[in-house]
Symmetry: C2
Amino acid sequence: MKSTTTILAILLFIMISFASCINQSEDGGTITFGTEIQQDATAAVLARMMKAKDEAISEIKFEKGTYHFYPDKGLEEFCHISNHCDVMIRTAFPIRDFKKLTIDGQGSKFIFHGIMIPFLIDHSKNITVKNLSIDWYEPFHSEGLIIANDEVKKTFDMKISEEYPYEIRNGQIYFIKEYYEHNLGQTILYDPARKAITFNTEKYTNLTTVKKAKVRRNLDRIHYKYEVDFRGPEYKKLGREDRLFVEELKPGVVRIHNHGKKLPQVGMILSAKGEQGFNRVAPAFRLTHTYGFNANNVTVHHAGGMGLIAENSADLVLDGFNVTPSNGRMVSTTADATHFVGCRGKVILRNCTLTNQLDDASNIHGTYQKIVDVLDDYRIGVRMGHSQQQGFVVGIPNDTLGLVRLSKSFQPYHNLTIKSIQYINGRYQIITLNEKLPKTVKEGDLVENLSAYPELLVENCNISNNRARGLLLSTPKKSIIRNNYFSTEMEAILIPVESGHWYESGNGSNIIITDNVFQDCNHSGLNRGIIRFETDDDNENIAFHNIEITNNKINQFDNWILEITNTEKLLFKGNTITNSGTFPKLFPENPAITIKASKDIVFEGNKYSGDAKKILVADKSLPNLIFN
Amino acid sequence: MKSTTTILAILLFIMISFASCINQSEDGGTITFGTEIQQDATAAVLARMMKAKDEAISEIKFEKGTYHFYPDKGLEEFCHISNHCDVMIRTAFPIRDFKKLTIDGQGSKFIFHGIMIPFLIDHSKNITVKNLSIDWYEPFHSEGLIIANDEVKKTFDMKISEEYPYEIRNGQIYFIKEYYEHNLGQTILYDPARKAITFNTEKYTNLTTVKKAKVRRNLDRIHYKYEVDFRGPEYKKLGREDRLFVEELKPGVVRIHNHGKKLPQVGMILSAKGEQGFNRVAPAFRLTHTYGFNANNVTVHHAGGMGLIAENSADLVLDGFNVTPSNGRMVSTTADATHFVGCRGKVILRNCTLTNQLDDASNIHGTYQKIVDVLDDYRIGVRMGHSQQQGFVVGIPNDTLGLVRLSKSFQPYHNLTIKSIQYINGRYQIITLNEKLPKTVKEGDLVENLSAYPELLVENCNISNNRARGLLLSTPKKSIIRNNYFSTEMEAILIPVESGHWYESGNGSNIIITDNVFQDCNHSGLNRGIIRFETDDDNENIAFHNIEITNNKINQFDNWILEITNTEKLLFKGNTITNSGTFPKLFPENPAITIKASKDIVFEGNKYSGDAKKILVADKSLPNLIFN
């Protein structure tokens, strides 16, 4: 026995020695990091990244292991990130101005701490990240088990495990992390039996955390010279105070008083992620102005924001890019799994499992920016409408910019090309055009970049158990949604035109939705179709063109399947619609299909074996339409 | 009459036409802006500033008028500002890489709105700003009149005028501005009869706004791998909850409950500026890496921070640079009037009126940075100790860096020179040295830049009615403090060595304090001398050298005048000390002069006509010293 131990000890010594040799070996542009840096890999990785201009890197490999990344010695950068907070982050991987780089984790786990962006990729080409998983040591959200409720006193009790330290201040609960804290803020219930959002959760959550403040004096004396976004974080607390009151019953058990919706059910898990506008600080991947990106065999278990947010980038291929929770958590990322703003070329999601995130699986759109100054014949001043679009630059020289007046048409009334853009601040930029502005342009009109929409392919993906939608499609280029599985809390596929709040541009067109399975989508309690076309500008103009929805299997607990508005040329063919019986119907009076303000809609060879009293209801635009 | 009206109208028309001609006239590098831009001058001024690289500017003049500057179209920049918050600001004057520029207001008033820095001056030479005043339309603090108090119920009532809109949320009062809001936070009382800080205010304020949170669970499970600054803003709320409770009695009158100190007296004015760590967001002048700066005939009526903060700059002459409140306000700037960090060459304050600011009139120092990593023979990783030093770069190539171990000596134990500094993040930088590090260096030692201390002249200034100190002197180069008037709430002149909290480096030496008047300083209630030497490292080593205090008139209500510690070679000569009788004595048992751990202290030809029971008390270091 003794000699075996000795041999093992020697072997271990050799292995350790070998491992320490591996630390940052370099071989013709390939760096290999060894596991000696795993306690905090940030300083070593960053030091090498910061030398990359002088000593080129083409590949970075990690010996298989679990690598921690702390922010303390990470490179800082203030980031305006689309659909996230504007935030000072830290990173070990500032991938800027790289022509070609592969990062191969070789099966490693990367564990991040605090407000970091694991991969900050900017103005680069041909970047590949593969064979690694990303997680956070302490998540940006917290989870608690509902253990009691009291309909008379309007309270419910929640058990909070040791992994979520908390304190109560002024009757409010704060979840304390190593580098971060959050209050209840945005909340939603998970059903641990299904490991998915609780059925009909809109009746129970969000928790009603705020009410109007009663005492407000002389606020009418404040003069706002310019447009103010009172939804922005700087005004978020104005006029609101706490409605809920939290008391601790015993260590690890708190009682929450004064919730205004239905009381959360015993056995459900409440996830809380803090205030909207403050709770998206650390996406896993952030890409800007990057042409050519591949993620293969990458799993994002958590992020304090999105799994991947890409802006102004092109040719992005996510193959085996997974978003799934770890460590028994209900929640994976606290925002969308993936999100693409102003991208072009191709966007491909293939063989991806995108589950349990707290927002959409993917959202593909451009931005509307509002013309607030017509400065001269060639120049306009534009304002970013949504606080989380601050800093977004709408395009690059020679891109085609459409001038849009949505009340008149969903299509641009005039096209121009960009000469240059002068960045002034997060809310305001000056765009110079190559051509003269039309006389008809006026302040209040929108611009959108017609060159910056991608072709999209989403194939063989599992999109389920998340809050919110599956896919939001706002690219007029070709989109193919093929052979996926959807089981989402809101719409499986939403095709919107939206200008009033999110300022997300683009009219989804040329879309093929084929061979997918839709299983019990839209169980949140919202009264909507599970494939839904929607404009928030209430008119009868055509927004969406050339749609094919074919050969899908739709097995749904409720009636409403397809909600068509403002659409021209749609073929719905070969689809099978069944009733799942999984949940009780929420809206049994609904038909299966509704159609408004549309043209050229064709139904062909579908099988309906659901039990809606009416299958199809169309408005006066298509009085004679029949379901087949 | 009618023809007179017509003539006047024509004249007015001509004047307006003439005025609009003036708009941005250019003459050989001199730009003149006319008053047509006064409603919001930001866009026009910024547009011209942003062209300055291609079309050089040597002088910018403003036709005399009142110019508003809004942030909406101002250039944004994220700033780490020493002794301020780290903050995204906007500016109309990004003065970067200028070789020579004069800005002449010609008597104009500049009124700013929101989180702006009026003059953001970086890496420039020979900049002059003259003949203008700076104010904010809505201040970053608020003021209320105490109208009642109740000793039994421990409440006091405050009247808030219409110019300070407010709301009450969760029992706390928030003062709402156009682009900003603040709660009570840091507060102090002003006596409107004296338009100065209330006598003995330490007994009354700060208001005791917070108490410890009672419910805290599992926080001991949080593992902090690296040093944490729990005083930093990100941890500021941890473990604390509100102690005060605010109710509105009627519009404009609020009652504040539960204050723990003495209740503010009726007739006093309470100024409130919000939470420490969050309330210094908009200094009037910010200079970095600027060599040659003149301010002449400039008045700063307000700033949400300091009047002027200069870092890593040289040869700064403030002549007729005044900080005084406007519009009947008690408060001018919400922080120091002026502040100089790591500056060199000469710093001159001459003919300045620095009054009613909420912190010191001036503070001149370097920074200590803590060695946290000895990376190799030539490189150290340093940590910024105070959150408001984040981002501060300690020096430039070839500056002499001292290695300091304060427990051993106030002087460096070894000198080296800087080769380069790699900026990693606000808290962490890597310094490469030209010479090998000594073997004795260890983590925990400090560095200070011995090349980055200025010579100082403060002459013919009125320093009074402010919170806190007059001058903090931490430059070992020559300082002359001559012919000034001091009437400050804390020490008139403080000469410190301070490493534990503020990390402000430098041992004041070679100082001449002559021909000044000290009138009733240190009336805050703190038990200190009005000229005070002080180290926070409790040892008997010498910190301060070669001081002359001569021919000053000290007319003081209380006893303690001079507090000497750790000093070598000090001459106190020809000074006249009288008792003013202005306020009752707070510490009648004190002597006039105390001496600890010092050498070579000489008193000569002074006149003492105060009534302290003992004039001089020295410790064992100078057992035989006599006052003369």
